[in-house]
């Protein structure tokens, strides 16, 4: 009964928000990547759409976590990107290609001419960057900085992290 009423009610709903924890970096890293199991949560989740802490990015609502009036401050752009993309980034850095690798290159302002080298260096040093299974986004970022600093062609970009 509950599910049915619920399902009926959410037909016209679009979204709800969950507050994001804010203890490491921007706090997104503490959210476990998992979906919903079971029929009820699935129906419900279909239209609630709120797993990323929408209100963290409330427009013109002042400073909240890694959001200033809804925008990410320059010094938090890289860490938020890491936190929001850690699973994808791990996959793509290992394969040596993908939009998330391109996104990372853009976030740390790698020139187009160096982007191919960047992907290769990230892949070749994967074991240093993702040093352990449960690594934090902050550590991944500092490992990337370290790898860049030790690479003759890319060391200038280490300063952008």
């Amino acid at each position: 009964m509950k599910k049915v009423i619920l399902a009926g009610s959410i037909l016209f709903a679009c979204a709800a928000s969950f507050a994001a924890a804010n203890n490491v970096g921007c706090g997104l890293g503490t959210q476990v990547m998992s979906g919903q199991t079971g029929v009820g949560p699935q129906v419900f989740a279909a239209t609630t759409n709120g797993t990323s802490g929408n209100q963290t990015f409330g427009i013109s609502s002042g400073t909240l976590g890694c959001s200033q009036d809804g925008a990410v401050p320059t010094n938090k752009v890289a860490i938020l990107f890491l936190e929001g993309n850690q699973a994808r980034l791990a996959r793509e850095l290992a394969t040596g290609q993908g939009d998330t690798v391109a996104g990372l290159a853009s976030v740390i302002r790698v020139a187009d001419a160096d982007s191919a080298t960047f992907s290769t260096v990230m892949k070749d040093n994967y074991s240093q960057i993702f040093a352990q299974a449960d690594i934090s986004a902050t550590d991944v970022l500092s490992n990337i900085k370290h790898v860049l600093a030790n690479n003759a062609a890319l060391k200038a970009y280490a300063a952008n992290i």
């Binding site: 509950k2 049915v4 009423i5 399902a7 009926g8 009610s9 037909l11 016209f12 709903a13 679009c14 979204a15 709800a16 928000s17 997104l28 990547m33 998992s34 979906g35 919903q36 199991t37 029929v39 129906v43 419900f44 989740a45 279909a46 239209t47 759409n49 709120g50 797993t51 990323s52 929408n54 209100q55 990015f57 409330g58 427009i59 013109s60 609502s61 200033q68 009036d69 809804g70 925008a71 938020l80 929001g84 993309n85 699973a87 791990a90 996959r91 850095l93 290992a94 394969t95 040596g96 290609q97 939009d99 391109a102 996104g103 892949k123 994967y126 993702f130 352990q132 299974a133 449960d134």
Partner: protein, 641 residues
């Protein structure tokens, strides 16, 4: 000492300038401002600005659908400058102009009205050509936000349905503000503009009920797109459709300014009308008043209908892009693999095959890489489904990726854009007219359903095997002068998700209905709630077969023993003989606790032909055994609107 000494005449000048600076805003308000304000108010009135579409859109004035009274949809006093601003556009405009003369120092919580209502200020400035007598505020916070957004274009984003969740056919819409230096592979770095209820969905049923009654405020946010993509594509496995809009730079600026002034404004969040999609459309109306998009939606806004409304405006949608979900990527990759390679990947994912032995089973390093990448996607998908425990997956994925990084880069097969899009589906409203025979009696039927899709409706653009109906009502005309409600499905959901070697979803159904049924004491009204769990298989690409265990609770006011519980089973099949011609058959048997019903058998067969995108024809035959012994044949024409 010399460094700070100021000559006497200079000192006077300094003090004068200082005092002028301190008092200037007050001076303007007290002396210069009043006559200038009155001039502006007169000019605005002479130009009928208060009744112009832009002003009405900026303040979200709409006529009430029943009382026809003009009122603003915003439910926040801070949105208005005048005390009666929510119902009086003219007095709101006059008060707004007055408020522009008040300049305050900007803090993280306070802004001058010029900044807080920056779209209004900008528009009125354009209309009334403010001169130097209007003090100007520095809107630093807005400028910082705008600089971060770095706008160049606007794309309407639609997150489509996901597997095994019929309710997700309702979808979700938002905007992506495309950035100036954006390339196709850095689109996810752009910001989105979206509207969401600020409630806790964990509240479950109370969330839903509060939402229906408008007890949650809705708020606008500008979350980076990559967080949205993660949510939709990686966690929920929803494909995303992106509709790039053709808007001028000044129109895009207007969207941003208005989003800014809506940022913290409370709109009571009604699931039925003022939902996310409605507010997304209202931003477009502000940018280009001639679009009048929100006027098309009075009672309810289904997200996909807002996409259709945008597509109906000639030239507004420039091009459409498809962003496949992780599941679609996984499927595309599996299509390129042999059964043996898939088996190998599954064993790697389950840990039954050591990673070190992979090369013994593949012909080349790139084949190993292909299998590993597929394993990665498969394992991640299993984790999202909750099939595999997080810690265990984390370790396996880590080992897998470490290994993968030592193999060469391989070309990737990305899924092609599906041949049909969600926006091509039939309209969500349905009107039907039918003629039928029940026993010896013939009848006419009229049906109305506001939303959304059942298994007999044309499937194009909808998720296969998914059904969700809401408030589906059917009235029957028997004889010359007798009309009565025959059936009311409050909610009717089905999810037939085929199981295959990669995915093993459960199928399910749920229904809550009022209907008239034949009994040994004549026709009575029953109120029933039923739920089923089962499985579906792809028999051929055109046919599904399924089996369900059913539970049913029934309440019949006319009976002495009013409640009855039933348990039973259903088997059935859905077969598309031709793209537009579908047949569905069901056989079910149910044991009921009510002695007068006993064992109930139901057989049904239904056939549907798609006549045009807006019309379909159905013929259905039902047989009910035992106490409810009835045979019914109905022919129906369905019109979608």
């Amino acid at each position: 000492m010399n460094g700070i000494s100021i000559p006497i005449p200079g000192m006077f000048q300094f003090i004068f300038v200082f005092l002028l600076a301190v008092f200037s805003s007050h001076c303007v308000a007290a002396s210069d401002a009043r006559p200038y304000l009155q001039d502006l108010q007169k000019l605005a009135q002479a130009n009928n600005l208060a009744t112009s579409p832009t002003w009405l859109n900026l303040l979200h004035y709409k006529r009430h659908p029943l009382t026809r009274k003009l009122r603003s949809l915003a439910d926040d006093k801070s949105f208005f400058a005048a005390p009666d601003g929510n119902t009086n556009p003219q007095s709101e405009l006059n008060a707004t102009l007055a408020s522009f003369f008040e300049i305050v120092a900007e803090t993280p919580t306070v802004q001058s009205t010029q900044c807080r209502h920056i779209a209004r200020f900008h528009w009125l400035q354009e209309q009334l050509k403010f001169d130097a007598r209007m003090p100007l505020a520095q809107c630093d916070r807005y400028q910082a936000w705008r600089t971060a957004i770095n706008p160049q274009g606007l794309t309407l984003i639609y997150a489509s349905a996901y597997l095994n969740s019929p309710a997700s056919m309702y979808g979700h819409t938002m905007f992506r503000v495309d950035q100036k230096d954006q390339r196709p592979n850095t689109e996810t770095l752009a910001y989105t503009l979206s509207y969401a209820a600020d409630g806790d969905a964990n509240d479950g049923i109370s969330f839903a009920l509060k939402g229906l009654n408008g007890m949650y405020p809705g708020l606008f946010s500008s979350t980076p797109y990559y967080l949205r993509v993660r949510e939709y594509s990686d966690l929920e496995n929803r494909d995303i459709w992106e509709y790039k809009l053709d808007l001028s730079p000044s129109e895009i600026e207007m969207v941003l300014r208005h989003a800014w002034e809506l940022g913290t404004v409370r709109f009571d969040y009604y699931f039925f009308d003022e939902n996310c999609s409605y507010h997304i459309l209202s931003l477009l109306d502000v940018a280009r008043p001639s679009l009048q998009l929100t006027d098309q939606f009075v009672w309810h806004t289904i997200p996909i209908e807002t996409v259709k409304a945008a597509l109906a405006i000639p030239g507004l949608v420039q091009h459409i892009r498809y962003r496949p979900s992780q599941l679609s990527l996984l499927r595309a990759r599996s299509d390129k693999l042999s059964a043996q390679q898939i088996a190998l990947a599954k064993n790697l994912a389950l840990g039954t095959q050591p990673l070190a032995t992979l090369d013994q089973h593949t012909a080349s390093a790139s084949e190993s890489a292909e299998v590993m990448e597929f394993t990665d996607l498969y394992l991640s998908y299993q984790e999202v489904l909750g099939v595999i425990e997080h810690k265990e997956t984390e370790q396996r994925l880590h080992a897998l990726r470490l290994a993968r990084s030592t193999y060469p880069v391989i070309p990737i097969h990305t899924p092609e854009m599906p041949s049909t899009r969600p926006d091509q589906g039939h309209s969500s409203g349905r009107l039907s007219v039918g003629y039928g025979q029940q026993g010896q009696q013939s009848f006419m039927e009229i049906g109305f359903r506001p939303a959304l899709h059942d298994l007999l409706d044309p499937e194009l653009g909808y998720a296969r095997g998914a059904q969700i109906e809401f408030a589906d009502v059917t009235a029957r005309i028997v004889g010359a002068d007798h009309i009565q409600i025959e059936r009311l499905n409050f909610i009717n959901i089905a999810s037939l998700s085929p199981r295959n070697t990669l995915y093993r979803p459960k199928s399910w159904r749920a229904r809550w209905a009022l209907e008239r049924v034949e009994t040994d004491v004549g026709k009575v009204v029953t109120n029933s709630l039923s739920g089923s769990a089962g499985m579906t298989w792809d028999v051929t690409p055109q046919a599904l077969a399924y089996g369900f265990m059913d539970l049913r609770a029934e309440y019949v006011p006319a009976f002495e023993q009013r409640a009855s519980l039933g348990a039973g089973a259903t088997v059935g099949a859905l077969w598309d003989i031709h793209p537009g011609w579908r047949i569905i058959t069901n056989l079910s048997v149910m044991q009921n606790s009510h002695a007068s019903i006993g064992v109930q058998r139901t057989y049904s067969v239904a056939s549907r032909w798609v006549i045009s995108p807006d019309y379909a024809l159905t013929v259905q035959a039902d047989h009910l055994s035992a106490a409810r012994n009835t045979d019914t044949v109905t022919m129906q024409v369905r019109r979608y609107f």
